[in-house]
Amino acid sequence: MENAPRIQKEHRMTMTGAHVIGSPVPRVEGPLKVRGEARYSADITLPGMLWAKFLRSPYPHARVLSVDVSRARALRGVKAVLTGADIPPRLYGRRLRDMPFLARDRVRFIGERVAAVAAEDPDVAEEALGLIEVEHEELPAVFDPEAAMQPGAPILHEALATYEGLPAPPPDIPNVHSLARWSMGDLAQGFREAHRVFEHSFRTPFVHQGYLEPHAGVVEVDGSGRLQVWATNKTPFVLRKHLSESLDLPEEMITVQPIYLGADFGGKGSVMDLPLCYYLVQRTGRPVKAVMSYVEELTAANPRHASVITLRTGVTRDGRFCARHARAIFNSGAYGAMKPTPFVNLGGAAAGGGVYRIPHLQIDAYSVYTNGVPCGHMRAPGEPQMIFAVESQTDMIAAELGVDPLEFRLRNGLAEGDPLVTGHRLTHVRLRQTLEAAGRAIGWGTPKPGPCIGRGLAAGERHVGIGQGSAEVALELNGLVRVLTGVPDTGTGAPTVLRQIVAEVLALPLGQVEVAMGSTDQLPPDSGAGGSRVTHVVGRAAWQAATTMRRRVLERAAQELTLPAEKLDLRDGWIVADGTRRLSLDEVTKRHGPLQVVETYVADHYAALTSFSVQAAEVEVDPESGQVHLRRLVTAHDVGRVLNPQTHQGQIEGGAIQGLGYALMENLVIEEGRVAASHLGEYKLPTIKDIPPLETVLLEEPGGPVPFEGKAIGEHSISTVAPAVANAVFDAVGVRITDLPITAEKIHQALRARPAPTR
């Protein structure tokens, strides 16, 4: 296969005695998914269920003078119509509570919900929307975040200071709801030390997460008065908490049911339409289902923030970074509600120093309101934006200094014990090895196979995620072990890896370990899927539970066999002593009853180690059209032990191709507040024909906090593709593209604007 992804491993780790850790175990839920039997939220149908639809604002900024729903209410089949006046005036936010569920007197983006309908049939609900009459008075709108920060700009949230969840009083700049600042050293001193100072600005577009399952939810109040919820949400316990707070219901009265997610990539962490479904349930006494269309997804969900990033970087006479001021302006759209971070900003902005030693560094990230779709999290939130800027500028400075970009990175790269701006002093630093491995794989420094072909690379680092995980491990009467997890399957392979961890600890054949997703009633709270967290924190919880289980089983067997527990071991479902099988697991449970262990694991601070990723691209640019052909992509990662090579590689490949989309095509164009690319025919995601030959390099080394010394991989291959491609385009034809995506039009224009390169 021409495109067969080559995977090359260096320092391959071996684990003595491992029987399933490190094996490419196929997905435990595979049979359900290939048969179409895995259930997703939109697949849920309940008896008597109604369908909800939402009327959305056609204006980017307007006063709502009146909403007349009388005709809609009269339509046959319509069971309820709600406006902002019909529900409690509560504001929602994952942190900053600034967003109403239904607009009351004001709309702030095209797509904001103004009325909700529940009807017997989705077509009837849709028809009812057309019968609702809304009187608006348009207000001046602002779309550009820099314009929104100017004095005199239209203010979106006059009452910002009164909102719950506001992290700190933001600076007195119009429409700024958060300024996140990271710094070390003394910026003024750093720039005094600089021999040369470079300043460049970069722009990145809005992009949608591109999960193919639109948001969906079903809400019911069951016979005991409990709220039952099936929803496209990756954090069920947080969802329960937010529903409880939003709806004034005790958490004990809410159950979030386990359900498969048609992927997430950061976009499925909010309550979305569920509170409105609940209010419709209250009105009608019937279950209510809402499924967003993909048009609604693209125009009114929570895409990745667009950004304007300016980097001012000082370099010493010997070509070393001495100072940087990074300023990121994130276009948040009309609300900050979709950001979960305590500082209501994007943590990835902290990557402003890149993978370099910059003694004097300050990063300022502004999150700014504009009259657009509210933005949220997407895979490595903030990082693809910031790393595009940082790694483009690294090459731009190297070119100015006449230094080879790889050599320049090696010269300035982080080393053992260096601090990050977030305060961590790094251990296990393998940046040099990762850079060199990627360089070798792409053929850095070797002749290029033709004209207009260029190579570029980019580097990043990312932590192992933190949070809280919970797991139950139960030994059933029949000797089977069941693992229950509260983290939903978003597709990453988490259930499969949890199964491997438990099977490994208990030395059981995989076939004797089942995994199930539990509801929020069944387990202690779990932070949910995201943040490169799951294999770490949920994996740890499962590992602890299995370890406790192992001890208990051996204690019981010791009684049975009148042998000391230390003499006993588990192997293939048997208790063994002196190498011989003495008791099977089901014999233990039959005499002593089933066993159940629930464990919670909390990681509240990042480990001192990180993972470096370097991606390298080889492109060919058509000098006439400007078209970029990605000839090859190298993805090199400094990883811990790989628990499951198949799912691990799946994360790398999927992330890299999302990175490719960000580099070359994805662009949620918003014109005057209106999403122009409003369906998947217009909004281009990479297809199977867009993928380049891919070579993966894994530098495995123990030391990670994940069970069996793994590290994280979920968000590690997405951020460095775009800058690697931009750098390769520059290498190919001398054109520097500083705004994503890197389209043929931009390159064509740049080529026409200046004399042809002489290479």
Partner: protein, 191 residues
């Protein structure tokens, strides 16, 4: 207040006969009923998914008289008298179709939402062309988006399935068959 409006005049209801996964159905549908909604909500066959709603993502791919169609763009009445195969009709009892087997073994999916469509598209391809080249696979599967895998493992899964269907891959091997859905068969452990 206006008089009540009827969304679906009873007069417009059409009676259709349609065979789905070998089973005959006679149903009354509105003329604007989409095949995807007919399958999912009238027949309860939710294995067929809906994504974009405009025929470009491939989630709703089913076979109509052996041809691959986007069921979100196809009216149910258009399938009148026809034979539809959905993902639920692929396995024979506990026996998965080789395409299904290969998607599991070679990691051709992650979240699974595009998987029924991918598998139906791959089946249609291999029915039509048992020995596709890599380029032919990509050309055929271009209308089936996947956001999780980056497609590499989908290409590999389809190639492996082609080999298995040709019976050529002795080394590729017939595998231990799965038990009922959800059962953890020995194959998982064997790997």
């Amino acid at each position: 207040m206006t008089s009540s409006v009827t969304a679906s005049p009873a007069a417009a209801i059409r009676r259709i006969r349609i065979q789905v996964n070998g089973q005959e159905h006679e149903c009354e549908v509105r003329p604007n009923r989409l095949l995807v909604d007919f399958l999912r909500y009238d027949l309860g066959l939710t294995g067929t998914k809906e994504g974009c709603g405009v025929g470009v993502c491939g989630l709703c791919t089913v076979l109509l008289d052996g041809q691959m169609v986007a069921s979100c763009l196809t009216l149910a009445v258009f399938a009148d008298g026809g034979e539809v195969t959905t993902i639920e009709g692929l396995a024979v009892g506990a026996e998965l179709h080789p395409v299904q087997d290969c998607f599991i073994e070679y990691g051709g999916f992650q979240c699974g939402i595009c998987t029924p469509g991918q598998i139906m598209a791959a089946k249609a391809l291999l029915d039509d062309n048992p020995t596709p080249t890599e380029e032919e696979i990509k050309e055929w599967m271009m209308g089936n988006l996947c956001r999780c895998t980056g497609y590499y493992k989908i290409v590999e899964s389809v190639q492996r399935a082609a080999g298995r269907l040709r019976g050529a891959g002795a080394g590729d091997g017939a595998t231990a068959r799965q038990g009922p859905a959800g059962a953890r068969a020995g194959r998982l452990a064997a790997r």
